[in-house]
């Protein structure tokens, strides 16, 4: 079952001054399965925050439909099962940490002793127990971010939107947040994550979408996105290995990268098996074989550049 179903969502911002129109999101379709972590990547202004705002009814779509937890996005009551941490959240500075959680907890439909217990639990979870009675104007950026996360998780939501959740948080805090998110995933919660930190997305997410100028240019698992097609690193051993490699025809790229390692590029798996057979038949021992991967960052940059080029053409 899908926690998020987006069908051809389009958002156009119109300026009332010069009638200029900006396409923030273009025919965007996406499904996010329940109990998974989905990461949305994109450069600044790609439309990531616009998408979250549309799903939460903060802005309205120009075209298309979307559902969260099986309810259309204009049905505001479903938000009692949703948590949200905005990118630049702002809480009333005269409130204390506990009061902030009390306010948003009540707005989420919680009350009484269950709310009080949950507030203490959440402060404990984000390591702010000692700061609950301190006015938030005295909080650091990292503490505010952790309080924001506590606020987003307070109502035990089934679907959580996090916009740059580790922004301003130190490395230890980031690790703690990652652990919290992984724990939520184990509890079958769905997490929709917007982040600039590609390494973070790589570590956390089940699926990733790459967004540029309002268009979803690629979607898949991190593995699917980063896997280089038919490129392998081989460690081989054998007396006449060099000679055998030289004998392969031009369609196969087999390059010595030093220390007994070779980079092999083939056109398909039939060719790969043919190469392996030749090596084995000639007494070459294959000690190790690893399919080559790009980092998510490499893929992200190349996809964005590719998309920019297409845009220019």
């Amino acid at each position: 079952m899908n926690a998020i179903e987006i069908n051809s969502l389009t958002k156009v911002y119109s300026s009332s001054f010069n009638k200029k129109q900006t396409m923030a999101l273009q025919n965007f379709s996406l499904n996010v399965t329940e109990g998974t972590i989905f990461g949305l990547l994109g450069p600044n202004g790609a439309g990531k925050t616009t998408l979250i705002k549309l799903l939460l009814g903060i802005i309205f779509p120009t075209n298309g439909t979307a559902k969260i937890l099986n309810y259309y996005i204009h049905e505001y009551k479903i938000k009692s099962r949703v948590g949200y941490l905005p990118e630049n959240h702002k809480y009333p500075s005269y409130l204390k940490g506990k009061e902030v959680l009390d306010f948003y907890g009540k707005l989420s439909g919680m009350s009484g002793s269950s709310l009080k217990i949950k507030i203490d639990e959440m402060l404990e979870l984000v390591n702010l127990s000692k700061w609950g009675k301190t006015k938030i104007k005295n909080y650091s950026k990292g503490m505010m971010q952790r309080l924001g996360l506590a606020q987003a998780l307070l109502n035990d939501p089934d679907l959580i939107f996090l916009d740059e959740p580790t922004d301003g948080v130190d490395p230890i805090g980031r690790k703690e947040i990652r652990d919290i998110l992984l724990n939520l995933k184990q509890r079958k919660k769905t997490i929709f994550l917007n982040s600039h930190l590609l390494s973070e997305v790589e570590l956390l997410t089940d699926r990733v979408g790459i967004l540029n100028k309002g268009k979803l240019i690629r979607e898949g698992t991190v593995n699917e996105l980063t896997q280089k097609k038919q490129e392998y690193k081989l460690s081989i051993e054998g007396e006449n290995a060099e000679q055998i490699i030289k004998d392969f025809d031009n369609r196969i790229s087999f390059v010595n990268s030093g220390n007994g390692y070779y980079n092999l590029k083939v056109s398909d798996s039939v060719q790969l098996n043919m190469v392996l057979d030749v090596l084995r038949n000639n007494g070459i021992i294959i000690k190790e074989m690893v399919q080559q991967k790009d980092s998510l960052e490499d893929i992200f940059i190349s996809l964005i550049q590719e998309s920019e080029k297409k845009e220019l053409q």
């Binding site: 903060i58 949200y84 809480y91 948003y104 707005l107």
Partner: protein, 269 residues
Amino acid sequence: MKNILTITWYSLREALARKVFIAFIIISTLTVGLVTLILNVADIVKVVSSGYQGNYFQAFTTVEMMFISPVTLIGILMSIFSSASFIPVMLEKGNIDLLLSKPISREQLITGKFLGGVLVVLINIAVLIIGVWLAFSFKFSIWNFNFLLIIFTITFTFAILYSVIILFGILTKSSAPGMMIAYLIFLIVSPMLYTFEFKISGLLINSFLKGSIDFLYYFFPKTSEIMGKITMSLALGNGIDNYQPLLTSLGFLILTLGISIAIFRKKEF
């Protein structure tokens, strides 16, 4: 309803966090203290009653109003100033996103903000008026309960002006325009239209001009009449002989608040 109460309660908290409302409470308390002191050193009512042909009750109420009127006027001006930023602060990026991500409708959000602002003024005005009333009542053993009704006329005056502040707060996301228009209505438009309608309009020959003044008079809220004539009449126990200023002003309040909600429902953040 629970959502409205939460927003109302936290709007009250927000108001109390602002020093202007605290200042209003302090002024009210000082006024009550000052009244008690003056009443104990001079029989001011006796002095004033000579001007009212010995009508002691009227003189008594007039003296009460003499203390209350300037403070409530200052209180309303201060409340307008302080409440003008309620909506713009709520609409700030990072704050409104979070509020709208909760299971609360936009109508409930505005209604809660409205009630919160009105409630804080109601409390302030009540502290002042009940304090002064108690001081007078204990001193002279005259318990004029009708006097307490003016808490509502004064709060109602603020409620009308606050609806204007909300509308312009939503339209401009800024506190200055709403505040300026509220001051304009309270201090200039309302007293001026009252004067035109009842003192000048009868002298006019041009029917278009007369009709225009009539329209403007009935359209705009009658804050000066509510704060003046109606409040005084209630304080004296004479009741309200003409409900038109209250009803047309209530109509203005509902219209302004309705437009605010309609705009807010369509607004993107």
